[in-house]
Symmetry: D2
Subunit: 351 residues, 4 copies
């Protein structure tokens, strides 16, 4: 591809939108041709994210105004809220058949219409697209992503838990009925909507769980773990909020009668040996979110529990990068035939 | 007791020492008569903790200089490092038979000499005292504490996990072999020693586990859970560091074939109905550390997991207050026959 | 006063409301008889501030429902938004002539109707009360506060700057035309309204000034400094936001041809020698907000600049305590003839 | 230059060392050939900074072991402590005449031997190099830097204050005797040494000034401001610590009888119109440190004070990037004839 690919970002005034712009500005083979933010249409991007003031970027427009056919975009990232997403993507894909889409919402992640209706309380608005969407966990579905027109980018919690667990379930190395995922996320995972419980003074200097026993990411975990295990899997999953901006750490409790913690470590090390964005730490080492901050990297650690035949797995990623926009760019690279690491070379920002 | 009780604080330059002074300055029936801090001996307390500048307090001295008999202290809080503690307390108790001691270190928490030697790598230096020490989890051991001369104040992680789990184990309402404690602590739990990994820039904006599979608080958990269950109990326990000063949240995964999550909630609600410092939230509600910050309160929540017959318990306390110095003052009150809440009425500081 | 004073708190769902409840729950001579929070009327206080769950408190009601005459309140704290305040207080004071009021809003702080109209863009709705309100900087106006029916509790920034500067201006020890106040505040000063710029992710890990050249607290500073100097004073004042919950530090640059920095220190030390809530540090020492967190204390430090005849003054307080609700309780104590320190003995919570 | 330049980093275990590695790993035209860290010699870089685990880097060695002549390095970054620096650089420059040096310490910033001796308490150990060192404020000394063999990289506070003030002093647009710099820095500016006052629990949730009236960066400010003004300039400067990792904001109070705030804005806008790493915001806008985090950018804002003929300037940069390692890489690019922005294209990481 000699000319730069033309890219659109829908929902540029949110955090995943800003993260996409941060990464794409870097990317040598793409050009940002469209930025939308409905309530801020007509304003420069620097008004909603001043860090972009020194850069040339398209003025924000509204999704309504976008003439999909005329824009001739190679790929669109959709970072819109649940619900809106389905309608916008359906319309876009009808009008611009050559444009491909990476959707960062949860709208196309579940392939089972019944599961979707159960978790979201209504029938899907674009069931035919739902069937065709490819789940964008790059390391697992790379081949399907290459050919996909619509990629459903995974959630941040789910990416963090699936990268270590899918290979172990596939290898039948852990008991699928005995998985506990205790997950802790930074605040950017909750987005930029102005809600009382997300104010600085409500979040700093404290820690708590939320959505105990019921969180929509569970549907995604069930789907992928069941697929990997070849049978139904339901996990215990508890999300928590950490007073920090970026990062998810999942502490995962697994067990098996046959495999030792070292065996699990060996399986993961082998599986990810050549992956640029998954790094398995030496046995017994524990990952920290700060060491992947701002990068597209996932760090995985495996340690033995003191109780025999149980292991404790740590998985850390940046929820905005590998957990959202970074993986979206990685998927774009795969879809457009670009080098998979293009635009994603940033080393973590620590301290 | 008409005159105020005379109290000493050994190790006043650490965080638990400062927390003791904060609480005792408030207490209507005690007087701080001795403050030690070996490396700062001769300095005013305001030099090591400027918040005390407006108050009258004894000048810091060294433990060596303390003439235990002449001081005629009613009670001494010992907030010294591991090892030193055993020698200092042995000497103090020999020289001042009327002085009672609440020890905040881990030195006297394990009653089994063999367990102590296994976890700490050496024989106990004061095995006869080790036998006589009473474990200071006030709500559980109140009667023994009343009569004790030496109370071993529990650890912060252990208090947080034991308060919800001991009643459930005693009631045989949960499976003792299937307990996972995923614990998250603020930084003050690590003390005031200047170590690289505790620097602001190493801790803020990140999250990680530590001591995975091996942490000394496990010994204390084993002892107390086994006692409660009437059989050997070994739990899975993983501590994490939260970028905040104060607070521990334990997310505890339990299960049982017979008891439902509601049953567990009912047991805890009944058990703690009249306790001033343990508050069981309505079923399904989840505690936050910020709502107990600076107070001696423990908040406990019980919710059902989506997997049948499993429950998720949250337990939150301030590691420096109920997790250390607050419980120590509570124990002092019990030992000296003072109202148990005296000096501990502070409402949590939120926001 | 043998029976406990009956107290009302209007606006209990905001941070200053919660801080009032925290302090009053402690206070031995008052009883909380009314809590209002219009949007939360009918709910328990624990729903909006879970830290109060263990305590007995009146259910939240709306201001509309309050029958001022029948309630027979001794004193009402008004922590309502600008505008609403004037109408509510006018009505309350008309209906319940024996009830006294401490208003925490800015509505009654300016005594000059013209200044009020200029800064707030409209005529005052209760000009007769505006004239009668006493400015509640306790250390300066204690005698008038004793007799006042309506006290206008000062702002947090203004209290922090006025406590060091008023005595120096009165003593004509500094040049009134050469005062620069560079102020830094924690986030709770901005209240609990859900605004994008107050989200955790917008505030943490960063620092900035706001309201440069124009901030409503300037009107209050002008009024009090001019009164103290006996001539018009206009200061340079820049507020900043610190990623922390509580605390204001003002760094104040002053100068004079005659007085040295030591002279300024001597004036302040003498002035505040017997004040319970203002502590002047040794010459050259600099205050930290963490050392007054949660307490009603103000710490003041004076140091010499390296440029001759210039001094740098630091002033630190907790914006919710001495900067708002603590000083309001202090004023209540003065108004009701209670010991001025009652309910305000808490030592700062550090760490 | 067709082959990649060979680069060394001395002091790779500190924060400025890690930041150099982060930036150089990105840089298309250089190769990291040497990393030293005396106490960690023999270990992989990932042991001291785990974020580098996925990358190929030289094993850490000690400075002593470095054979300067044999290494044939094109350029060395020296991020060593004060004192050590002078001896190491003297030796290195004698043994490897073709190797150029960017020193990040304060050792070569002062060109006047008398000023050096006064501020540091001893004669300079390499006075002949002190004379030849070029002060590395790139935007001001670009031409001299090109030809320099030894560049003294400026301090973080000084870069932040000098970028807005040097052009104004050169233009004689402000009164050189009336400059107040109130500066606020994140914690990484204090380095990675384990000191009690830098612990998380000592720094979070609080704010304070330090070094009031005396701070070594003053010497550097005096030198550069005097040079720019063509007369002696002494400024008032107060540094503060913000509970955040990265970022400096300087709030600068200036005045002049002739120039208005708009004039000052116009001068700075014109001066920096074509500079890639200095961005002047629209008049009246105020910079935030978070919008330059992790980037080499400086954001400058100018606003009018409400007092006539006074202006308030805000200047924000990342102390580890433009305030240290980023500017060092910028200087390297200038010295080696590489594109000045190479390796420095990262957009700020916000949120």
């Amino acid at each position: 591809m000699s000319a730069k690919a033309k890219i659109g970002v829908l929902g540029a005034s949110g955090y995943t939108g800003a993260e996409l712009v941060r990464l794409l500005l870097h990317h040598p083979q793409v050009e940002i041709a469209l930025l939308t933010a409905d309530r801020r249409a007509g304003k420069p991007m620097a008004d909603v994210f001043p860090q972009f003031a020194p850069y040339q970027l398209p003025v924000l427009t509204s999704v309504e105004q976008a003439e999909w056919a005329a824009l001739k975009l190679d790929l669109v990232f959709c970072a819109l809220p649940h619900g809106t997403t389905q309608k916008v993507i359906k319309d876009l894909m009808a009008r611009a058949p050559a444009t491909r889409v990476v959707d960062l919402s949860a709208d196309f992640r579940l392939s089972d219409p019944a599961a979707y209706a159960r978790w979201y309380g209504h029938e899907h608005f674009a069931p035919e697209l739902q069937q065709r969407a490819v789940y964008g966990l790059t390391e697992v579905y790379r081949d399907q992503i290459k050919a996909a027109r619509l990629v459903a980018n995974p959630g941040c919690y789910t990416t963090c838990a699936e990268l270590p667990l899918i290979p172990l379930l596939k290898a039948k190395a852990i008991d699928p009925d005995e998985i506990v995922v205790d997950a802790k996320s930074g605040m950017t995972g909750a987005g930029r909507a102005a809600k009382e419980e997300m104010l600085f003074s409500e979040v700093s200097e404290g820690f708590h769980a939320y959505g105990v026993g019921h969180h929509r990411h569970m549907a995604e975990l069930d789907q992928e773990f069941s697929k990997a295990a070849g049978r139904e899997v339901v996990v215990t999953f508890t999300p928590h909020l950490v007073p920090m901006n970026r990062g998810i750490l999942s502490t995962i409790y697994v067990r098996d009668a046959k495999a030792s913690a070292q065996d699990l470590h060996a399986i993961l090390s082998k599986c990810y040996a050549n992956e640029p964005f998954v790094h398995v730490l030496p046995f017994g080492a524990t990952p920290q979110t700060r060491h992947v901050r701002g990068s597209n990297m996932t760090f995985i650690g495996v340690a033995a529990d003191r109780i025999p035949r149980r292991a404790i797995i740590g998985s850390a990623l940046d929820n905005l990068t590998k957990g959202a926009s970074g993986q979206a760019v990685q998927n774009m690279n795969v879809m457009l035939g670009l080098p998979e690491e293009a635009g994603l070379e940033q080393v973590a920002l620590f301290p």
